[in-house]
């Protein structure tokens, strides 16, 4: 039963036209929800959460740093999954997703690095440390750059997407190995303070705003991906009747 539902969803969302109608129904309410969630989480974290007894107020960077880092990591995982689907099953929507997911993920990786170093200066006295997490994030950013660069040089869109897909699959394996190898080299970072499940060492008054801004960032990422995927679908299907009608009616 569940399997059949998943299968039906796979086939429906695999059709560019269905995706387009589906996303135009989702976006009008997903966009405001994403923005409200993100702003709520950030304002709560910045103004209402108590200050940290060790770090004072500089810790408030966590409310943007962790959402950005988690978003960048999940985005690359999503690239890998889309890559697998695009290379093995040659599903058109997976190819579209490969193009839509990368840019915002790269921006989040950059944000994670910038906010991390701005947090590092007051906390451990330097903007940059070659510690395991910062280094892994830097390499993740490089890999996003690789995927985007490869897509930009190959003319034929389907070929570009599948090439980037293969790179993303290899990249996902690499992310895991890089994480362990960089940890092996050295670890200077504070231990993980947030666990979604099980006991958490973070104060609940800080945890809730963090979870909310994280959710908000992921939703905003989803909005961004949907917008990019929609324009890619319209471009790829530009010769089809439904896109022609859409354009004639002024894009409604």
């Amino acid at each position: 039963m569940v399997w059949q539902t998943i299968k039906r969803w796979y086939h429906m969302l695999g059709s560019p036209r269905y995706f387009h109608t589906f996303s135009s129904r989702v976006l009008p309410w997903l966009t405001p929800i994403a923005l409200i969630t993100l702003v709520t989480g950030l304002v709560w974290g910045l103004a209402f959460a108590p200050s940290d007894y060790q770090q004072g107020n500089s810790y408030r960077i966590i409310f943007i740093h962790v959402p950005a880092s988690s978003g960048a990591l999940m985005g690359y995982m999503a690239l890998g999954v889309s890559g697998l689907v695009a290379v093995v099953w040659r599903m058109k929507m997976a190819e579209v997703m490969l193009k839509a997911i990368a840019p915002f993920g790269a921006a989040l990786a950059a944000i994670s690095l910038i906010t991390g170093s701005l947090w590092g200066k007051p906390t451990w006295g330097t903007y940059w440390q070659w510690d395991a997490r910062m280094t892994s994030m830097l390499i993740l950013l490089f890999m996003y750059v690789g995927v985007i660069a490869l897509q930009n040089v190959i003319r034929e869109p389907r070929q570009a997407a599948r090439a980037a897909g293969l790179l993303a699959i290899v990249g996902v394996i690499n992310v895991v190995i890089v994480k362990y190898s960089v940890e092996w080299v050295q670890t200077l970072h504070q231990g993980s303070t947030l666990k979604l499940f099980g006991e958490s060492t973070i104060n609940p008054a800080m945890k809730y705003p963090l979870l909310i801004s994280m959710l908000g960032m992921w939703l905003l990422y989803a909005v961004n991906v949907l917008i990019r995927a929609r324009s890619e679908v319209e471009w790829r299907e530009r010769r089809s009747k439904w896109v022609q009608t859409l354009i004639r009616e002024g894009g409604k």
Binding site: L42, L46, A47, F48, A49, P50, S51, G56, N57, S58, R60, I61, I64, H65, A68, P103, F104, A107, A110, I111, I114, T115, L118, W119, K121, P122, L220, V223, N224, I227, R228, R230, S231, E234, W235, R238, V243, Q244, I247, R248, G251
Partner: protein, 59 residues
């Protein structure tokens, strides 16, 4: 509210510079990315509309 006054809020203890720079740069990057996505959408629509008009003139 974790701060006594708005000035306190802006100062963030002694770390106002770090906190606000972090949030400022993040906001710029996120907003720029959203704008680029929307503009890409607009560009595709525009190009397609132009092609359509040209095709109709040719007929």
């Amino acid at each position: 509210m974790a701060f006594e006054s708005f000035a306190d809020f802006l100062a963030m203890g002694k770390h106002g510079f770090f906190v606000w720079t972090a949030y400022g740069i993040s906001a710029v990057l996120v907003i720029a990315n959203m704008v680029l996505a929307l503009r890409g959408q607009g560009k595709v629509r525009e190009t397609l509309a132009r092609q359509q008009r040209r095709a109709e003139v040719d007929e």
